[in-house]
Symmetry: C2
Subunit: 152 residues, 2 copies
Amino acid sequence: MSTEDIGFKAALHEARQGSHEGGVPIGAALVSAEGKLLGQGHNMRIQNKSATLHAEISCLENAGRLPASSYRGATMYTTLSPCDMCTGACVMYKVKRVVIGENKTFVGGEEYLKSKGIEVVVLQNDECQDLMKKFIKEKPEDWYEDIGEEDK
Amino acid sequence: MSTEDIGFKAALHEARQGSHEGGVPIGAALVSAEGKLLGQGHNMRIQNKSATLHAEISCLENAGRLPASSYRGATMYTTLSPCDMCTGACVMYKVKRVVIGENKTFVGGEEYLKSKGIEVVVLQNDECQDLMKKFIKEKPEDWYEDIGEEDK
């Protein structure tokens, strides 16, 4: 299995888990330059009443305290284009690459990542998008709250 | 007491608390457009072995789930210039203003905040700077880890 598969599969697994829990179905996984899975997590807004545990933040938190060198050359996999907070977290820890499941539901800080020299790959995976479509149809107010937007 | 005082005093109180706990001494407080203290918190890297609970993230987390409207017109007070992650959190939630205790120790995403129409005020408060000077002298490796930098 390639490193790409390990990270994306872990992120998608987390998104499904979030969906099973009735939460915002977005997952993330961090894979080191050496191909080691450093951490994974999913959005915990509904489950933990959390304003900050987006998938990428949850993943970084679950990975725990790491020296700066651990993030060098690493890839952040996320099932949805990262918001400004999660984009900033990737920039701050200087990951090498961000692999995004889909960006049809929402486009976050992709251009900012690129401006900082971080490689961005968008997979346009149908399952990632379907999970979000279903969630937004059922709980639009929770989705808009999650990205700091007024309900539409 | 002005709103400015309430927010900055709460942030400074949090930074002192972090220092007492042996943690990275940075605090933050979020004050609504109406002058209500919505939340406050301090950096928890050392205390919680956390890779993401910077002061501003801790503050937003402690404020809990809020509708987008709660952040409109709000001010984030922080004792140190915000890193890219915390900058992104302020941009995502669209706060109106970020008041910074000092930016001599570290300059974060101030220009990015301004580019998004967020007002930035820097107080250059001596106590905020002294707390950081003392901490970095004692635990340089923890400070550099906190901002994703190699130890210098």
